[in-house]
Symmetry: D2
Subunit: 115 residues, 4 copies
């Protein structure tokens, strides 16, 4: 496989500003949501991070731009945890449907428990 053929990435990230002097991180996470909105990528905020997916380099660039935006708001240092997955066996999963597809599959299995 050539490394020039870009993989599609289904991801999730949790960004933490360091040294801001306040224990609240909501302003910084809101700023990330603005960057995500502009990115054109599919994303969804949850209680401990944000689901995000798209071509690998766009996912990476968008998280980079979140760092840049949060630095611009005053955070001297930032630490982010990213979970990122790729697969080559399911070309049938449509772009933008990676994370939703996973939730749906689990819910289908659990629905049978109740049936």
């Amino acid at each position: 496989m050539s490394t020039t053929s870009e993989l599609y990435a289904v991801a999730d990230f949790c960004l933490i500003p360091i040294g801001t002097g306040t224990s609240s991180v909501a302003e910084e996470i809101a700023e990330c949501q603005r960057v995500l909105e502009k990115s054109g990528l599919k994303y969804k905020l949850h209680g401990y991070g944000t689901n995000l997916e798209g071509p690998w380099s766009q996912v990476s660039q968008t998280i980079h731009d979140c760092h840049a935006a949060v630095h611009a708001k005053g955070a001297a240092r930032i630490a982010t945890d990213i979970r990122i997955g790729t697969r080559i066996d399911r070309p049938d999963i449509l772009p933008g449907e990676g994370n939703d597809h996973k939730v749906q599959r689990v819910q289908e299995i659990l629905a049978k428990d109740k049936a």
Copy 2:
């Protein structure tokens, strides 16, 4: 602070079975949801993990029990990524509301952008 006083943990985890011979992980994640349901803790599945919160030792024990249940289903090896947070400045945030509170705060800030 005494280390015997247990901290309340707001967490998120993503469990991955290894060596199962299939690229699908939905059955294993569904099994974890069953363990979570029995735990009595508040939890919520999303596209790349599950939000979970409660007293630190119960959160930890519940994730342990997910490992045990997924091993029992045949996975020889499991790797999990856990994000876990504690804070001592907001005793007003009610148990079970930690992750929801974070999402709500960000949404309040973003709502002002549109106002």
Copy 3:
């Protein structure tokens, strides 16, 4: 498998104090190393976290105690990323040798490249 039979955990964690007003985290990480030293568990600091292994509940309790100690030093909020793995297929790997064993296996494979 009974969930009362405790799993052995091979782990790694990265703790981040929030709202300390300084972008340095070295004092807090040093405090964690002191907690780890007292824990009796095998651990090893690296550039972006600390390897740690032992019975699951002891690993969890030790990371909890790192949070408690860092809160005691003044951090109002802490976020930690934990990678934790269990396996039931290699009872021959000795306690305390889980992380070292993984590095060794990779180095053995790479050594053959040069041979």
Copy 4:
């Protein structure tokens, strides 16, 4: 801050192949080390991941290429956990010294305990 000015990233990643039919991951991690060696970036394997640092896009591209290489070896699906940090307050930390600098700072503090 312009998002076109690229941030320097100090990172760590742990890659897990899924559905390979074996609980061993050493061959895949060895393959990643070969990719890292070719990348020209500074990296260091530890028990639960690999430290890596460089310009953000190169760090990201290198982890992408690890995925591509592990897919090429037969893994249908891969999940990776990345810890990635940036800071704008320490331009004096030399490229390639980010992770080592962190360990050194902690060791200096602990050395005073013994003094």
